[in-house]
Amino acid sequence: MSSRSNSCMRKHSPGAIIVIALSALLWSLSAQADKLPTLPMLPKLPTLPKLPPLPHNLQIHGFASQSWLMSSGNNNFFGKSSSDSGSFDFRELGLNASMRPLTRLQFSAQMLSRTAGEGSPGNVRLDFGFMDYTYFSGESSQLGIRLGRMKTPLGFYNDTRDVPFTRPSILLPQSIYFDRTRKLALAADGVHLYGEHRSDLGDVSFQAGVVRPLVLGAEAEAAVLGGQFPGHLAPEISYTGRVNYDLDGGRIRFAVSASQLNISYVPGAGDILQAGSVRFTPLIFSAQYNAERWSLTSEYALRRLEYNNFGATPNMDFYGESYYFQGVYRFTPEWEGIVRYDAQVTDKDDPHGKKWAAERPSRAGLAHTRFAKDITVGLRWNITPEFMLRAEYHHVNGTAWLSTLDNPNTGDLSQRWNLFSILGSYRF
């Protein structure tokens, strides 16, 4: 029971504690001064500036998680997971603050550090930071606007994909939430409109925006171009949106998300690449059923990826396809089990990668890098509301979502492989 008492501390920031301690100290000093009436009147001291009252709607939340991964063969996922000791190279730390100075106005920001193998070295970055103004709020509907850096609304999980407590498993279904397009689809700077209408027939909500994707940095370049080049990527005007339909308070949830993310390439000196452009257009259909003990979730994604005018390589335009079925069962509020089947093909017209592998002799035997079928079973234990332990096992046929940064020699990869992982996570 004692662990439960932590949650009442949820909103108390260190700042709040300092303000409280300081004001208590000042009060006690002045109280003591009142008890000494025999002293001569002191000359009037300059009054201390009044401490501003801490806005009572300031909220501070955070999380910290550490995972361990162990995989078979030479297939590395998030660090050297195929080594004898496995990999501890998966860590997520986040801290966020939000406040509502006016009932219609909210400010929110989150700093995040994510270590996940070679692709994410754990640098601290602004995950989101925006102002949210509710233009209209009535009994059954609302309409508002957000300005700043917002999470890109894609599927059920992209908005909070780096927060372990909000995920159904240690690793999100990699077919849809894999790391290569993560950089493009994580968050973007711009403006979003949002709205909601509630009725007995269910709640419809939407959010839609015009944004610039975050593409600066070597990681984004490696993810988009598959290597380092003298030039750099530049964000172009992009569009993002999602419509949600919740029936009976979320017993049944549907969502359709679509984005068009545009990036251009600015060649550097002596570059083999020309001023090309990349367009990523994901379309995701999501559905969920929530009962008391179990939840069923499925998502289907069609991802169009276009590379144009790079010169050195021919233009590319292909559709990737992925989907998963997931069942979660709550044995008790503390114990939860998960089963999932998750499948991805890089090119819908070449589901087994055979055509792709036949195109060049160097691709012989690498057809398995063009698909992945993952069967996952896992357990979640909520030790307290703040502390969670998880374990899960993946059996995977295909290597499509393995990072080339963690696996520089694609030829060493095994087509069929296993991954075991444990995660501990704390939040407040």
Binding site: S5, N96, D159
Partner: protein
């Protein structure tokens, strides 16, 4: 291939459904309770969809423009479980994941958690615009009772 694997999953789920008694259903047996508000709140009745939106932290203001302040008990408190299921028709885990989505995407805030009925009464009574829930025996004249249409 896919169908076979999923069938396996469903059979497993079905076995679990039949084989395990869920302790949470004990929480249905709870003494009568009310939805309570701070006396500053003018509303005496509210549609269920608005109550859901309030506890889902998506409706932030009363019709007169006052900010709504939501107070809840911990997720596993029997009164919270009963209130969620009977008044909102949702399960506590759904509320928790809704609040987490808001907090960790920045698009909203979490409600305030109180640890006891006494604290619930005191916070709702002393916070303008507050809403919460209390068993009838713990309720007194310092808070208003809200009816759901």
């Amino acid at each position: 291939m896919i169908t076979k694997k999923n069938t396996g999953g469903f059979i497993l789920l079905l076995c679990l459904l039949l084989g395990i008694n869920y302790p949470i259903s004990m929480a249905w047996a709870i003494e009568p309770y009310e939805i309570v508000t701070n006396p500053s709140v003018n509303e005496k009745t509210l549609p269920k969809s608005s109550l859901r939106a309030i506890f889902g932290m998506r409706l932030h203001t009363w019709p007169d423009g006052t900010a709504i302040r939501v107070f809840v008990m911990p997720d596993d408190a029997p009164l919270h479980v009963a209130f969620s299921k009977e008044k909102l028709n949702v399960f506590p885990y759904q509320l928790r994941s809704t609040w987490d989505r808001l907090v960790f995407s920045g698009t909203g805030q979490a409600p305030d958690t109180v640890m006891s009925p006494e604290e619930m009464l005191a916070r709702v009574a002393n916070t303008p615009g507050a809403i919460g829930y209390l068993t009838k025996s713990k309720t007194d004249g310092r808070v208003n009772v809200l009816e759901i249409k």
